[in-house]
Structure formats: C-alpha cells, structure tokens
C-alpha cells in the first residue's frame, strides 16, 4: 500500500519535472501544468489566437473596435452601454485599458458616493434622475447569471442645501426647475428647518431645499464592481496597462477664408504593459477618453491643444486633478438617524456614516488654497482652520468632535466650468470624452455612459440632450451655468 502511494507520488513528481524542464524549469504544480496544456490546446483549436512564436495571452488584442482609456466608473459605464445598445450580440469589440486594477488613486473609490437632483441645469437634473433610476434597478441592469445580487447600500436620506439671503432667490428658481424635471425636492423656511432638524443652527440661513426621495449616498465600490462583473460577462475585454501613445493619420483642409484645418483620426493606441518595456499597438476605430483626473494628459497625447492659442486646434481639454480631502469624525452628541447630507452656506458639507455617531465631510478649498495635487497626503490643518469652524457654527454639537481618519482623492476638475465633457472632439474625430465632472461624476456615470454610447453608435444623443456638454464650448467660450457645484 505504502509503496504504491510512494510510487504514485514519485511518478507524478518525475512527470512534473519532465514537463518542467522541457518548458525551461518552471515550477508550476500538476494542476497548473494541466490547465496550461489545456489552454495551449484550446488556443490551437480553430478560432483561438494561436501564435507559435511567443505567448501573448497577457497582451491586449491587436484589434478592437473601441478602446476605452480608464476603467473607472465612467469608462465601465460607457462599455456597458456600448454592449447593451449594440444591434447584435458581439457586434462590437470593446477593450478597457486600466493601468491600476487596484484603483488605488481612482476617484471612484475615493468619493463620498453622493447622488442628488439638486442642480440648476435641466440636463444635470435629467442625468441624475436617469442614474437614480438605474441604481434603483441595479440588480436588473447588472444582473449576471450565477452571481449574487449587488448590495448598493443606498442611504435614501436626501440632500439638504442651505442658502443665505443672497442665494435664496436662486435656490427658489432652481427648485422650480428641479420639480419641473420630476425631482422630489421641497423648500423649507428656517422655522420649518429648525422644527425638522432641531440640531441645526439656522443663523444666516434664509432658505433650505431638501430632497425627499432619490437622493442620498451609496457605495461607489459596489457600483464599480457590479459594472465590471457585468461588462465582463457581456464580453468586454480588460487589459492592465497604460496608454502611452496614439498613432494618428491627419488630413489638412482649407477653409473658405483660407485658414488650414487639420483633421486627425487615431488608428492605433499603444498600451504599455505594467512593469515592463513591452507595449502592444491596438488598432481601433474609436477611442474613449474616460481617464478621470488624468484625461487632460490623454487628450494631450492625442495632440489636442497643440496649436496656436485661440484656435480650435490650440484649445486644451481643461481637465486636471484637484486634491479634495474627506474627514471622518466621531461626535457622541451629534445629529441622529434622520441626518441628510447637509451642505452649508459656507460650502462645507457633512453626512452621517453608519450608526455609531460617525460623520464624514469636507469642504472645497478656494482657488488660492488649492493644494498641490502631486500626492494624496491629507492636510489636517485644513480641517482645523477651514472645515471645523463652519461645521461647528452650523451644528453646535460639532464643537466637540474627534477626527478619526481622513483621506484624499482627485476631482476630475474642469477648470473652465466644473461640468462634464461628453461627445467627440471636433478635430480628433474619433476621440470621445466622458470626463471632467468635477465632483459629480459618480452619480451621473450611468446616464453619461449611455449618452456616449448613443453618440458612438447613432451619431447623436437620444435619451438626454447633451449638446451643451460638447467639447466645442471651450473654443466658443460658452460656459455651462451650473450653480450647485459642491
């Protein structure tokens, strides 16, 4: 008995060694070997991507109809809607290139996950309403056979926006627009506010608007993973690597007035593999720039903004990383279960986090205070000097609080008008944008993904008219007038 076992074991060992030496001494175990061989056989079978010279399974494919740069929530949403709206199963090949599969610096995972309809621009309200509908039915949209349902952890606690006397008229107007669009928002006087939320100090508040439904916060990570799981099941390919170069062809034309216009078309994307010098050119028809805070750099790679200033060619994509801090604190006497996400007249915001009297919040710095976006270190003095005074003034209970932790993340900040950029570039004709949402990109991602997919597949926006969000506004100098940027 013992001998047979020994023999068996030995035999196996020998076999492994035999195969191992032939393949150059790799130390895979038996199961690994078998699956390796199976893979080889599979790739040799018709339809596989067999290449007798070297193993290229870690590289992205050589062709893909659409290449999406950035696998954050916006990139994945575009991928989802492209596959969802394609005319026939498997009609388009979509590749998502993401340089960091841990998403350590991506804005999506570092956001506070808020969703609201309290915008001033009808388009922004519509985007948010579409997205909340998506999130409500997330387990239908993102259902995958054999996978457990997603737990989005949506807190329907609403947003409470406070306005000073100066901002009251604008707030009233905005709420009118929001209600017209179908959002459930109500206005409150300081007395009503005091009655509903006794912990608020209404000094300096002239009017408040409060979302009754469809507003609150959710787990951004769950949305990201759910999208990832779904698009993978729909046949979208993923590749870990960095987009470093675009190869494009150009066509120069003369305008009536004699000026020259150069139209470009990207036909190859170079994807550099992580931790190696190896790169793979991917031939493609369409590139989607969803690189979040880094999408300005991606645009530059495609030659956008390289031209004489004042011309369309010289107009840059005005998106850059801006560092924002989020602090988490504990306050035993703090507001209770009913606490919504409150944004103060000063711009500071906070919300409840869980049940144990924990809260999180922050404040956007002014243009002069803007911290260096070189790293993601947290400035604790910023809380002491800028955030806490505002919080304690608004909620007296916050005078005694203890900061538990803090983190920082990058806004994909649009320096032109703090709003999204959606749709194709007028000159680099096959680069589409889905970026620049400066602090509300997460909540609008489901709707923006659909808009971009519609633009790619149909050539125009169908569900929501996103024309005001086109790139050309930077050249024309037409700012989007959105007042509620948090």
């Amino acid at each position: 008995m013992l001998r047979t076992v020994l023999q068996l074991g030995l035999g196996r060992n020998l076999l492994i060694r035999g195969v191992g030496t032939r393949r150059g001494g790799s130390t895979l175990d038996w199961d690994g070997q078998v699956s390796e061989i199976k893979k080889k056989i599979q790739s040799v079978l018709p339809g596989g991507s067999w290449n007798p010279l070297y193993d290229s399974s870690h590289l992205p494919p050589e062709h893909s109809d659409v290449v999406i740069v950035g696998g954050g929530v916006l990139g994945l949403s575009v991928a989802y809607w492209l596959k969802k709206l394609e005319k026939q199963r498997g009609a388009i090949r979509v590749l998502v290139v993401e340089r960091d599969h841990t998403y350590s610096q991506a804005s999506t995972g570092l956001s506070v996950g808020g969703i609201r309809q309290q915008f001033s621009l009808p388009e922004n309200i519509q985007l948010s309403l579409f997205s909340v509908n998506f999130l409500r039915n997330i387990n239908e949209y993102l259902a995958v056979v054999d996978a457990p349902p997603l737990d989005l952890q949506f807190n329907p606690s609403g947003y409470l926006l406070l306005a000073s006397e100066k901002g009251a008229a604008a707030m009233e107007n905005n709420v009118k627009v929001q209600r017209q669009e179908g959002a459930k928002v109500c206005l409150m006087s300081p007395e009503q506010l005091q009655k509903k939320f006794p912990w608020i100090n209404t000094e300096g508040v002239a009017l408040a608007s409060y979302g009754m439904e469809d507003e609150g916060w959710f787990d951004p990570w769950c949305l990201l993973q759910g999208l990832r799981r779904k698009v993978q099941s729909m046949g979208v390919l993923f590749c870990q690597g960095e987009v470093t170069r675009f190869v494009s062809s150009s066509n120069t034309m003369k305008t009536v007035s004699g000026g020259e216009v150069t139209m470009k078309r990207i036909y190859e994307v170079h994807v550099k593999m992580n931790n190696s010098l190896e790169y793979q050119p991917v031939e493609c028809a369409i590139v989607i720039n969803a690189a979040g805070a880094w999408s300005g750099q991606i645009a530059e790679l495609a030659g956008i903004g390289k031209g004489p200033p004042g011309t369309l060619q010289g107009t840059k994509l005005p998106v850059e990383p801006r560092k924002r801090y989020v602090y988490l604190w504990h306050c035993p006497q703090g507001p209770g279960l009913e606490t919504p996400l409150v944004t103060d007249t000063s711009g500071a915001y906070f919300r409840r986090e869980g049940l144990g009297n924990n809260y999180l919040g922050g404040c956007s710095p002014t243009e002069e205070e803007e911290p260096d976006p070189g790293n993601l270190e947290v400035d604790h003095d910023f809380f002491q000097n800028k955030v806490w005074p505002c919080l304690a003034q608004r909620v007296p209970a916050f005078e005694t609080l203890k900061v538990r932790s803090a983190w920082a993340g990058y806004y994909d900040y649009n320096t032109f008008d703090q709003n999204g950029v959606v749709g194709p570039h007028p000159l680099v004709v096959n680069m589409y944008f889905a970026t620049g949402f400066s602090g509300h990109g997460l909540q609008q991602a489901p709707a923006v993904g659909r808009a971009v997919a519609e633009m790619v597949l149909e050539g125009h926006f169908q569900t929501i008219n996103m024309n005001p969000f086109l790139f050309s506004r930077f050249y024309l100098g037409e700012k989007i007038q959105e007042q509620n940027i948090i």
Binding site: A143, F154, N155, P156, M212, G336, L337, E338, L355
Partner: protein, 251 residues
Amino acid sequence: MAAPRASLRLVAPIWNGSTRSIHGLSGEMAPRGNQRKRTLLQLLTDCFCDVEALREYLLQKQLSNVHWKNRSFTHIEEQYGPYIGGAFFILKQGGAVKFQDKEWIRPDGRGRFSLEFLKFQAVPVEAVDASGCAINYQGLDNLLSMKELQSLSLKRCPHVDDWCLSHLHPLANSLQELLLAGCPQVTERGLACLHHLQNLRRLDISDLPSVANPGLTQILVEEMLPNCEVLGVDWAQSLKLELEEQPRDTA
C-alpha cells in the same frame, strides 16, 4: 426548433430553484441534490454560450415577471378613481383593503374577490394589508394617492426594500401605523427616512434580517420618531423576559 423547447422545459425547473438565491436574498442553502444539478448547469453554461444565453433570458424573464405583477390598472383607475384603482391592485396581489367604515375585503383562497367595492368610489381607503405580497417600488405608486391611508402592512414582502420606504413620504399626513416585520430587504438605511412620516404612532420593525444592529437601530428609530411606539427586536424578547421576571418580583 424542437430541441431548444425541450431544453427549455428541462432547464426551467432547476433554474427556478437557483434563482431563489438570486432574488430571495435570504441566503438559504439549496438542498444537496439541487446543488449538484446546479453545478452541472454551471458547467453547461461555461461550455456552451447558447445555454448561457438561455439562462440569461430566463433570468430577465423572472425579473420582468415581478414588473408584470406590479403593473398599474390604469383603466380601472381612470374609470373609478385612485381608491378603487389602488384597492383593485392590492386585491389582485392577494392583499386586503379596508374602506372607511366598511369591512375588510380579502380575496378567497383562489385569489378571487367580489367586485362589490367598485361602488365605494367616494369612500377613501383607510387600511391596506399587503403582507406577503409581491409588491415593489413600482407597485407602491398605486397606494400613494390614497391620502387617507392610516394603516399599511407590508409584512414579509420579499420585494419591499429601502427604496420603497423612501417612496412613502406622500402618505406622511395620514399614515399612523406601518408594519414592516419580516421584510428581508429592509435595512436601517431605509428606516432612517421614515422620519418623514411625522404622524406615525405605531411602527413594527421586528424580525428584519438585513438590519445589522437591530437593538441600536431600534433605539435610534425611537429617538427619531419620539411620538411613535416602535415594536422592534426585543419587543418579543422583553415580553418573555418580563414574564420570567415577574415571579421573582413577587417572591
């Protein structure tokens, strides 16, 4: 053509067993034999994309079934008004309704009910018992126009979730009693927005499996709704404790 139909018949019953875990959220284990069949099905799914497509189709079918059950009966609502429309919806679902100063109306064992209530057009509905019904967010719309609704029972409704609770605020002026016991999807996040219902006098939140900290949640809900009697986790437990303690007191 015959082959896919045969496989459809073959797959559906097995698959139904497995979707319970997709929807039910109750996390109950499938029986062993069932599990083996499931893995076989998974294997088939992995090998043949046709099977995968079929199962995906069936999954979508199951989802749209819930939608179908929650459709509004617009023609009835248009003809008889919101009270009758809502009542019809609830009775169709298998629940019961009570018009003001009238007896409870419920369907019999086979889901049939008399249409006598169609003449109560001007009578408001004051109580709805939808316990165990397949009502969801969309279906709740049928109740929101009942401005005199005082009592609503959603006990053990599998599709009632936090989104549904946030949807109840239009009833804030009238609703006095809300029973949520045994709803598998309701969590503390949804309970937090019940503070819109300022007239609530009685709230049953016992036996909610998805609430992580039932004791703490109950205290916080009580703080949030000071005028409301909250029946929670330890309501049943404390009754038992009281019974145990009483003899000691007398001794």
